[in-house]
């Protein structure tokens, strides 16, 4: 049954019991991303360490389907407390798996619970859902690093 390969138990768990939900202060970067096709939206905040090298805190708030919300919850688990470089690497690996049309063997070492999303790769219409939080995270971090004005700005996940 294909559907179960998409909606892994882990995903449903994160969806029903999300980790890190609720925007936190203070934060050094924020990004608000929208999936223009379905209207799902997510705001992600990061608080980097003073030297900008570590994601001390990651919080989010938004609305969307199980995939986008569970993915944000897993994002929180994988990224909060990690060095920025490592967090970005996880993001890249996640993106590689999700965009791979089911042909990419994910690195479980790197992705942890994230591998549960491997099934999404076979549903092209859901790829953007799974990536929503991750793209917002990258954006928020880029803003924090650039020391940019951390105000909310709407930008679609492309």
């Amino acid at each position: 049954m294909k559907m179960e390969s998409l909606y892994q138990e882990i995903i449903l768990d994160h969806y029903k019991h999300p980790h890190g939900r609720g925007l936190k202060d203070p934060y050094s970067g924020e990004a608000h991303h929208v999936n223009p096709t379905c209207g799902d939206e997510l705001t992600v905040r990061v608080q980097l360490s003073a030297d900008g090298s570590v994601v001390e805190e990651l919080s989010y708030e938004g609305q969307g389907c199980s995939i986008s919300q569970a993915s944000a919850s897993v994002l929180h688990d994988l990224v909060a407390g990690q060095p920025v470089m490592d967090a970005m690497a996880v993001g890249d690996e996640f993106q590689r798996m999700i965009g791979g049309r089911g042909t990419v063997e994910p690195d479980e070492e790197v992705l942890g619970d994230g591998v549960a999303f491997a099934g999404v790769a076979k549903y092209p219409a859901r790829v953007k859902c799974a990536l929503l939080g991750w793209m917002a995270f990258k954006d928020a971090t880029a803003r924090a690093v650039a020391g940019a004005d951390a105000s909310t700005s709407t930008e679609a996940t492309r």
């Binding site: 049954m1 379905c38 199980s66 549903y123």
Partner: protein, 428 residues
């Protein structure tokens, strides 16, 4: 569960035989249940054959060549225009072919901003600061964003009618929305999300009283009910071929001839000119003035065949059939615990779009759609290109089933079973 399945007006089995795609399976062998005709309809083989036979026998550039193929192609193209005009009660020279309804609506919006730099005959189309364009909160983006942009180009102001909780237009403030400042009222005939059928003639009368033009988005009405441009009360009517059994890549803009004749061109190039000099150009009469370049010939011919098909079935029968399906579906979906229909709950002034959300235990519409898809039931999820509607109802999105002449009550049974499955699957 809902009421027993009604006796249907149309012989669905016979109709389905003309749509081979409906025989296919999806997702590991599930029979396809296509409930997404509001996005695009399937096409009968008659339409595909008309296109193919044009290419195999008559393909040539229309209105340009003097040779036999060009004559034949022109006859087929203009013959299709005559059929489509007759289908909507229009004169041939009032029917302009576009690539989709979106282009037709943009055509009017751009012609209006072009009027500012055109001759005096175009004066009545000019809008600027102080003028108002009126739309509604239930518009598809195609009948909203072009008017937002027209306002941005010209300095005019956009105003709109809100919606009632039942998903009808809130016309309580009609006399303060449509005023002497109103230059144009653009509205949808039947909402693609709510199913609501709007009182177009009534609103058009108000608009005409203050001298405003009326643009009707008939994307969801021309395919589904008998429609007459004159009776509609509108000055311009736009719709798409692909939603009414026709090919992709063709739409229609109808306009009152006197208005088209006074309107500046939009797209410019070959075939829409009168005399061209490097210093300046004059333009052909409508409809040619609005059909620049080699047109979508095969698609127009295909749409002609679609109109033949619909005429053969009978638009009154199509409407009746959909009414029966909608009644059945509304009843069944509303009786599901925790499910809420977004749009008129009664089957009055309402067409075959049933949007819903699962409110108890809040399953996201995307997830409902995924479970349905897993059973072969193809519905649409999201904001359906009418984002302001979901904002209005304070929901993230809806799951939407839409019906057409090839749908049966079994399709709706499959929908209902799928929703129940989604509820079981996502039970906390």
């Amino acid at each position: 569960m809902g009421a027993p399945a009604p006796e249907l007006t149309l012989d669905v089995e016979r109709i389905r035989a003309d749509f081979p795609i409906l025989q296919r399976t999806v997702r590991d062998g599930h029979q396809l249940v296509y409930l997404d005709s509001g996005a695009t309809s399937q096409k009968p083989v008659q339409v595909l054959d008309a296109e193919r036979s044009y290419y195999l026998r008559h393909n040539a550039a229309v209105h340009r060549g003097a040779h036999q193929l060009a004559e034949e192609a022109t006859d087929l193209y203009e013959g299709a225009r005559a059929k489509i005009a007759a289908f909507i009660g229009a004169r041939d020279n009032e029917v302009v072919f576009t690539k989709n309804a979106t282009e037709g609506l943009n055509l009017v919006a751009y012609s209006m901003s072009n009027a500012a730099t055109s001759g005096p005959e175009a004066a009545r189309f000019v809008v600027g600061p102080g003028d108002e364009i009126v739309v509604t909160e239930m518009e598809h983006h195609a009948n909203l964003v072009p008017w937002q942009q027209l306002c941005q180009r010209t300095g005019a102001t956009l105003r709109w009618f809100g919606l009632t909780d039942e998903g009808r237009l809130d016309l309580s403030d009609v006399d303060s929305v449509i005023t002497e400042r109103t230059k144009l009222v653009a509205l949808v005939h039947q909402s693609n999300v709510l199913g609501t059928v709007n009182p177009v003639a009534e609103i058009a009368a108000k608009a005409h009283k203050v001298g405003a033009l009326v643009v009707l988005d008939a994307c969801q009405s021309v395919p589904h009910m008998p429609f007459d441009v004159v009776e509609s009360g509108a000055d311009f009517v736009a719709f798409s071929g692909h939603k009414m059994l026709g090919p992709t890549g063709v739409g229609v803009l109808w306009g009152r001839y006197d208005l088209l004749a006074a309107m500046p061109p939009f797209l410019t190039g070959g075939s829409m000119i009168e005399v061209v000099r490097m210093e300046g150009t004059t333009f052909a009469a409508p409809p040619q003035r609005f059909e620049a370049g080699v047109p979508n010939i095969a698609q127009v011919i295909g749409l002609g065949a679609a109109v033949d098909y619909l005429t053969e079935v009978g638009m009154a029968n199509v409407a009746e059939h959909e009414k029966q399906l909608t009644a059945y579906a509304l009843d069944a979906v509303e009786s599901l615990p925790g499910v809420r229909v977004i749009g008129p709950p009664t089957n009055v002034a309402r067409g075959g779009a049933v949007s819903f959300v699962v409110v108890v235990d809040g399953i996201h519409p995307h997830d409902v759609g995924q479970v349905l898809d897993d059973q072969g039931v193809e519905v649409r999820v999201g904001h359906h290109c009418a984002w302001p509607i979901v904002r209005r109802f304070n929901i993230p999105a809806t799951t939407r089933a839409t019906f057409y002449l090839y749908n049966s009550t079994e399709d709706i049974d499959a929908l209902v079973a799928g929703i129940e499955r989604a509820q079981r699957f996502f039970k906390p």
